[in-house]
Amino acid sequence: MHDLEVGEHLYRFPGGLKLRHHKQIACRDPLLRPEMPEALYLPLQQHQGPAGEMLVAPGDRVLKGQPLSRARNDREVPVHAPTSGTISAIKAWPVSWPPDSEAECLVLQPDGKDAWFETTALDDWRHADPADLIGHIRAAGLAGLGGAMFPTAAKLRGEWQQVHTLILNGSECEPYISCDEMLMRERPGAIIEGGLILARALGADEVIIAIEDQMGAVDESLSRALAEHDPDDICRIVEVTTIYPEGGEKQLIQVLTGAEVPHDGLPQDLGLACLNVGTAAAARDAVIEGKPLIERIVTVSGPGIKHPRNVVALLGTPVSDLLAAAGGLDDDIERLVLGGPMSGLPLASDLIPVAKGSNCILVLRREDTRRVQPVMPCINCGECVRVCPASLLPQELYKYLKAEDYDETDSLHLFDCIECGCCAHVCPSHIPLVDWYRHGKGVLRERGIEDARAQKARQRFEAREKRIAEEKERRRLRREQREQKLKAGGDAKSEVQAAIERSRSKSAGPDQDGDS
């Protein structure tokens, strides 16, 4: 038994903002499956970590669900074909991260048949070995569908003490995003089964499903599904207050348990694991039906889209197809955002494909992003300090980053910033605080890399100097020995001479002496 109570009592995290939701506009219509796109673009790296080993080459014919790459360890995540067709090329294609960049993508031309590869389900998962479950989940290409795309297998096993509680994160706190809410309304049973599977893989005794208290319909559908799929009462639904950024892993854990994840540790160190409800549903599909991760629900919303809705998109679908499926764009579009308005990434083009962590495409017009005031100096009003959920001092961080004093920013715990955007949202001077923190983190990371390189270079330089010095010493010793021998060799020479004299005198000697 553990002594950390989860979900018994709800705590509050410091700061946070109550935001207008704009979520229901995309939930009014049922889920739509867009038409098959002309081509699917699959980046090899759709997760945090190295890409897997490639299994196909241009020209290969593939079937739906066929693995296109293989994971060699828990940090790599395989990619599967979303539909049947031909791999026409492997080429550079616009991707979402880094912004305005391209990466190697497999280009899949669908053949229209949508023929499935052979699926292997894990039938008796309730009694399966957790390692087998995790292996199956890894092979199905699961990564965190909440947006962070963390390799799921690496979250399920690793160097920690036993995890006792699995938290399924359904508290989607960011405005406009409603893909998790739709999933919870449409497939609550899949989420619960997935939760039970993941709990078995982790060895956890209970599952908490966290939803926001304004998700009324979700509570009903989940409760009904619980009655059907969870006879042992392992799962529990907990409603948390709707306040941004409640859905952040660290904040959710703080709300449910009152404990904080240590800054140099993981939730697993507290005996908790936190996974998105979408990941749970995908785990259920992988284990019970043998289907790998090839599609996900994406919210297409925002003031600039004609018909906001949630769509079931195949991975690799270009964003332009999703925009068309949602009725098309209004005039005067200024920005496409992957994610929500508070923490989403700007997209440089609508050719960028849907990846495993693409939860929402937000379309913003010029009038939505227009600033009425240019960036002004910080007036130290303290609003940012008041709203920061990590209890940081945003305006101090900003001042030191502007002055390029990176050591001080490190001591102000820059890396504990979760980039939620609350501080920038309340800043009266309209300072782009999150941009500065991302910039500072990049500089500090690069510094860390450079420092490590410099360390290594110094060690190798010193090792080389040592080696050269030793060689010199050895050569000097050998030279000395030779010189010694030569000098001794001079004595030997006179010895030979003496011996010759001796022999000469010997041959001359007896005559002189007259002896015979």
Binding site: E334, R335, P346, R370, M376, I379, G382, P428
Partner: protein, 341 residues
Amino acid sequence: MKLTLAGAPHLPPINTVSGVMKQVLYALIPAIAAHVWFFGLGILFQIALAVAFALALEAVMLKLRERPLEPFLSDYSAVVTAVLFALCMPPLAPWWIALTGMVFAIVVAKHFYGGLGHNLFNPAMVGFAVVIVAFPLDLSQWLAPRQLSPGLPGLWQTAQAIFTGSLPEALSWDTLSQATPLDALKTGVAENRLVTEIRDAPIFGDFGGLGWEWIANFYALGGLWLLYRRVISWHVPVALLATVVVVTVPMWLMGPDINPSPLQHVFSGALVMAAFFIATDPVSGCSTMRGRLVFGAGVAILTLAIRRFGGYPDGVAFAVLLMNMAAPLIDRLTRPRTYGH
């Protein structure tokens, strides 16, 4: 389709600098109205002069420093400085008082240090401190409140007094002016009279001084509006006023004859105004919440000390300036604990 690649958040922030400053001005309106009611139109002239000088000086400094006039001139920060300064002035103070005050507030305290957001000291208080040291006589000529006055000066008379620097013939300082309650207390205590005796003077009302206590009430009202609109946080006002009460209650209980009561302290002078409007100046104050508590308490203690032991009847301005000096250190020492550490 041209797309911009800006970082999150993608919707513009909800506040603006001019919005924040305007809220402060709105919150001061009740107090200004009460001031006009009790002490006449002089205060409006002071405000108008100070604002005019402040904006003019700000424009000149921005030009000299090669900064754009927009948005700095229209962010209302100079206006707030000017109004707060003017509210500390006697109603009939000559026009050069406002000019001197604004020169030191805007040019020296604000722009010499780097402009908006960079001033170390509260500009209005710097202006006030310079003026009270340079023109002590003019700053001691306070008017008697409506209830005690033979007649508050009219519009034309007020204008004459302010713009020429001397009273019009019909009026004289003897009839018009009256020591402020704190002035009366100080001179009375120096003459070894009991506080209870001093309090019998007509200048004193129920709590503080006649008229002044009502103005303090309206400052508090404005302050509550600012709290509601989240322009200021509760830390400085609560710390300041609580410290005043905590320090004066024991003194008063031990010797009610020689020590003024806590309410008297609170409702006299500029303490309530300072609590909500002056000590809450964000740029020169503390940025951490715990630091603000310390700041407010420090201002209270220093003000009470100056009132009791110092040469000036009300030490709020100097107390604020002294705490401004300490603010960066207080910030450093009161950093909150980050999540996970």
